[in-house]
Symmetry: C2
């Protein structure tokens, strides 16, 4: 264990659980023992009585808030109706960690994630911990808040399988051939502090405090095993995944995600999003590939563009989002119409112009203050899920002549294999270590 | 007008309105003309029909969302029930601007702010502007969103009155004696990119996209006259201003703002928040002084502190927020009790220990990604309103021995005079230029 003077005290967390066989952390084991279903996860809430009255987030204000199931055929947070807020985090494994460290980390993340998605504290010691003479397991800023639709989605980057240090975890042979750093695209201006990483966690929730709490606590649990590499907050979902969600707008002021794959379109999900049992490798069956792109928008420049030009660039009208070939938002664009520019975004990105290729988008807007020129540091944190990274690569290459490129810069990039959902009693990615 | 190749095109905005007398911008004049009340602000919505169907945010999804009045005795956003999200922005006037530039800027901000707080677009040309051959007045990302409880609060910094260039706007003699940069406090570690500024705008809303839209558009309107100096997003209000709001938690996991001044406590507001008619200078009557402090929290270090020590530092229990002298959250602390440490935060900050001094707090949590060590760049964006800056200064000096100081760093600081509310037909700060 790394003995740095800062970071979470995992030893003290572990002390509150019973002994475990070597090779499994005690908390990891507890996670497995509790994995039998949602109901059992409520065990232990309210057990931590100290310094006053124990409170559980689950029994706080009975708000009508969604709570999603962590366990299932696919990981949550992919087809789940897009929430209002994002905290995305990329992690690197710490030096000199071994396969057991990685496995127990995934077990501990599974346990904590399954609890937090139910609106519970990060461990069974409850809101303020079991022992006043140890640091609380849970950092506390979400006490009293409901689950708020939290989903936690975990992925494995190419470097987890093999990096310059070699095959650290004995899984190099199992790396999907398609899981490699994305190629360079025209106009890429990537910065290391928003790119790549051994592991990723996408936390989405309708309350940003709940999403931040999840990333903070999962980072803390990772102490000594994995370290936060970079992270990004987002808001105002720019894609929809259910037909009941109105199409949101991106920071160019246009509706975004009109033609997205929806969660109830099982055929499209099977064709374009989920890795099938016939795809390689077998351990990825039921999973998906996640691409993240931090796309800075030059919004002050965009805001000087006349409306007619903005609409030509996008290929849709700004008010309704209808294609410039006519109709309303959901009318299929007619690319034979002279109304749609050949290098408009809608045409270059459209499945009809890309051999039917589709992806499931799940992006968010971001604003990180401003730069020294007084321009907002703002843009789109693009997230997409696809059955094969080649789908994204093909589409992104197609966008090389996109007229929108004058107003955006891709500054961050990452790709992760998101394994299938977790069975009760197991943990994220268990098939990879079977 | 600055002819930089980026930034908003104010000329084109102005072209859509009629001629105005010199010394008043045409948009400023329009603002005054429309200032007669809320109902009249709906004029023009839907008038901008181009490229499809015009939409107004006001007639989009009929959500039960608050819309607050811009005009009134005091500016909105001080006693308004604290919203879920903040975008705070500090501005500096541009070089070679004159008094007319400042006055017309305040008029234009008044006009736009009064519209946006009603859920309308930034000008009467509506959602996508009146002329497709000009850039739309409104940047568009809030089309279709309700007012979302937006408040816009505008303040004047010490440097607006006089700086190293002198008395740029002929108002140096009217600077309140108390309006000067805050003194240095023990432990200050201020950075310029989060400190000071000629003007500030506090935009609060229950939807971050609405708050960001407000700051973006007010920055754009300022083009050529004032430039964004720094800005900060926040979430998860850490104070409450009505008794119906539950006390939220800060990123140390503790309830924050239990003893805040509430909006219905008129006597306390008059005593501690509003500048009275008998205070100097007269133009500040009905206003307040805003202090902003960006307080970085060393959360990974805090998270290693045992619960009993965390509670001793704060002086309250973590679960309920009750003082350690006993009772529940709203029980008055008994400072004669040995349960409360003399250097606990609750004791040092309490009015009973500070000659009855109170302030109205309105802070938010913030997370700006993480640093290169993998630690979250997170903390409290503290905002307080007081009748006299001396209230804050006294309290902050009192906190010199606060045990919490080991876990926080003040990295940003600013102070602004927030003038009284605006009468219909007038503009923010008009009394200063009378």
């Amino acid at each position: 264990m790394n003995e740095s003077s800062t970071g979470a005290d995992v030893d003290s967390i572990e002390e509150s659980t019973s002994a475990a066989p070597s090779g499994l952390s005690r908390r990891g084991l507890l996670g497995l023992a509790l994995g039998g279903g949602v109901a059992s996860l409520a065990v232990g809430v309210g057990a931590g009585i100290t310094g006053g009255v124990a409170i559980g987030r689950a029994r706080a204000e009975a708000e009508a808030q969604a709570a999603y199931e962590f366990f299932g055929a696919h990981q949550a947070g992919i087809t789940t109706p897009v929430q209002e807020h994002l905290h995305f985090a990329s992690f690197d494994m710490m030096p000199r960690t071994d396969r057991d460290d990685l496995v127990t980390l995934l077990q501990d993340w599974t346990y904590a994630a399954s609890r937090m998605m139910q609106g519970l504290e990060v461990s069974a010691t409850g809101a303020v911990g079991g022992d006043p003479e140890t640091p609380p397991d849970d950092t506390g800023e979400a006490f009293g808040l409901p689950a708020s639709g939290l989903t936690i989605t975990i992925g494995f980057g190419p470097s987890l399988f093999e990096n310059e240090e070699g095959d650290r975890y004995g899984i190099a042979a199992l790396r999907p051939a398609a899981l490699e750093r994305l190629p360079s695209f025209l106009g890429d201006d990537l910065v290391p502090e928003a790119s790549h990483g051994d592991l990723c966690i996408q936390a989405c929730a309708d309350d940003p405090q709940v999403a931040v709490h999840a990333i903070r606590n999962l980072s803390r649990i990772a102490f000594g095993r994995a370290k936060l590499r970079w992270s990004q907050l987002g808001f105002g979902k720019t894609s929809r995944t259910t037909s009941s969600q109105a199409t949101p707008r991106n920071l160019f002021g246009f509706k975004d995600g009109t033609a997205n794959i929806l969660a109830d379109d099982a055929a499209a999900l099977d064709a374009h999003v989920w890795v099938s049992a016939s795809d390689e490798p077998a351990w990825m069956s039921g999973g998906s590939y996640l691409v993240a792109r931090k796309i800075a928008m030059l919004i002050e420049t965009w805001d000087r563009v006349r409306l007619s030009e903005q609409e030509t660039i996008i290929g849709r009208d700004k008010g309704e989002g209808a294609p410039l070939s006519g109709g309303d938002e959901f009318t299929a664009p007619d690319f034979s119409s002279s109304g749609i520019d050949p290098d408009s975004h809608v045409r270059l990105a459209h499945p009809d112009q890309n051999d039917g290729i589709r992806i499931l988008r799940r992006g968010f807007n971001y604003v990180n203050g401003n730069n020294e020129l007084g321009r907002l540091d703002a843009g789109l944190f693009f997230l997409s899920y696809q059955r094969d990274p080649e789908q994204f690569i093909t589409l992104q290459r197609r966008l090389a002549t996109d007229r929108m490129n004058e107003y955006i810069r891709h500054v961050g990039s990452g790709i992760w294999a998101v394994p299938a959902g977790v069975s009760p009693g197991s943990f994220v990615g268990a098939e990879l270590f079977a």
